[in-house]
Symmetry: C2
Subunit: 311 residues, 2 copies
């Protein structure tokens, strides 16, 4: 894997970013990824402000390499998160959901590199206009929250690359060196990997979640809740109940009641495989073993070289 605009942007060796996923992406995962030459992201979405601060400090202690924080614009204590990021000297922020114009300028003025996560060319252009340094372009394959157009990575990445001048980081369905090579062939200059890192040793997800997702067959996930979040999850008992309600034309309130709250924590962190919301990508079907971040980097380098050799 070559250096280029993305490695230069973040001051890293390999254009590989680990997504800042709720309940998975703590300081352990982020620092391990950064130590391997990639860019690790801390997932603030499942952290109280104090917890976020703690994870940032631990990450700083664990690695000298650059790392970043993923922040959703729906984070309840948004202003506190912004303060913490600035006070602790975090140098990179990946922002997901919402209007890129909201925080970009403030972070940029503080000397922080800003990347916005999008799922359409329209929002990639908005992010570029708002002054972000790069965009993560996330296709239909991705776990968790998804774009409404359902555009898959194979189409979305070249579409965005045609439209913007800033570097594009591809995400969604990327777990192996071959898929990374494919993403670069499409025009991406970096990749963000979620699923594979969510299921590795350093991820703070429960063992039950990791084992369940590693054993997933093809078609083991599905996009659902299209009117209230548009989320890709494992087809477990909770999913079946949600689908039955949608199928039976339940009201938005009835569906909301079935979904409840804290389902992601219940599933991913606490390991309840039936009642939890198990957010993972389609590419879990290619992840089938227990492995460390270092194992992953060795494997994707080898796979990448093999794929390039095919061309």
């Amino acid at each position: 894997m070559k250096t280029g605009r993305i490695t230069e942007l973040f001051g890293i060796d390999k254009p590989v970013i680990s997504g800042g996923m709720v309940w998975c992406s703590g300081h352990r995962l982020a620092s391990a990824v950064s130590d391997c030459g990639g860019l690790g992201l801390i997932g603030s979405g499942s952290m109280h402000p104090d917890t976020l601060r703690e994870h940032i400090e631990k990450c700083k202690a664990e690695t000298d390499r650059p790392f970043g924080v993923n922040l959703s614009l729906f984070y309840p204590q948004l202003e506190e998160a912004v303060d913490i990021i600035m006070e602790t000297g975090v140098k990179v922020v990946f922002i997901s959901a919402g209007n890129p114009a909201l925080l970009t300028r403030r972070f940029k003025d503080a000397g922080i590199t800003v990347v916005h996560v999008v799922s359409s060319t329209k929002f990639a252009l908005k992010a570029e206009a708002a002054g972000v340094d790069a965009v993560v372009v996330e296709g239909f394959e991705a776990g968790g929250h998804n774009g409404r157009d359902e555009t898959a990575t194979m189409v979305l990445v070249p579409a965005v690359c045609r439209a913007v001048k800033i570097p594009v980081i591809a995400a969604g369905g990327i777990a192996t060196g071959a898929q990374i090579a494919a993403a670069f062939a499409l025009g991406a200059e970096g990749v963000q990997m979620g699923t594979r890192f969510a299921l590795c040793d350093e991820s703070s997800a429960s063992d039950a979640f990791k084992e369940r997702c590693r054993s997933l067959a093809e078609g083991g996930t599905m996009l659902t809740l299209k009117k209230s979040g548009n989320i890709r999850m494992v087809k477990n008992e909770l999913y079946e109940r949600i689908e039955a309600a949608i199928d039976g034309c339940a009201s938005a309130d009835e569906i909301k009641e079935i979904v409840g709250t804290r389902r992601a924590k219940l599933g991913i962190f606490e390991g309840d495989m039936k009642e939890g919301m198990l957010e993972i990508g389609q590419t879990a079907t290619l992840v089938d073993r227990s492995e460390s971040v270092a194992d992953i980097f060795a494997d994707i380098e080898a796979g990448y070289a093999e794929a390039v050799g095919r061309l």
Copy 2:
């Protein structure tokens, strides 16, 4: 683009196949693709047996190069189609839908090369066990009938490549040289392109259909009718009526009545943009001009070289 198992299998120069699409893939398109060094397929799905025979004979007259026929196992006069294929000396058959064990042996015994179109690893393995020479592996991005698992090309291609020994032809979301390079990076040895050829000059689709699809924005198609066909189509008035019915929990019969019959012919061939079923892939968003098959081959060669250069 290099030669290899797929070019050898069909006796062609470039591992690029044009899909045998209803109302689009007549002798003109097939012979033009074959003349450019690829493999053109005649789409039997929208042809009465006599029409199929006529298109095969015209194709034989128009090109000395190999071409094939795409045949769905739901074709009403299946036995007649098999007879016509054998009598006219067609050397390549791509079979879609249904059990690969049904016709594979008969065609193989007649010296015909057989490829089965699948949308899952499970069915790829069945096809391989049935003795096919290769599989087309078609991802979620593709227009028309789709797999139930909704596995996108970026994940499906490597998954199938891991599982089977026969060569894999990637389809779904492939229109440009960069996407072809990506498919090869993932392990495919050939590509089948649908959308881009459906919208080109030699396609027998109506000008209205071509123009409509070329002007499609991202997110302009959606997968619907998940319980009765699982079809990706343009989000036109017909689509909205279907979705409203599904949303309102209409019965299977009510939905069947809205869909009616001959909607694909109405839309694709006759050019009714509101009432027709406009089957096209997500990658239509990258197709924006009138072009010939020769233009397409020149463009994909250039794009492929550029993409390989990026790696």
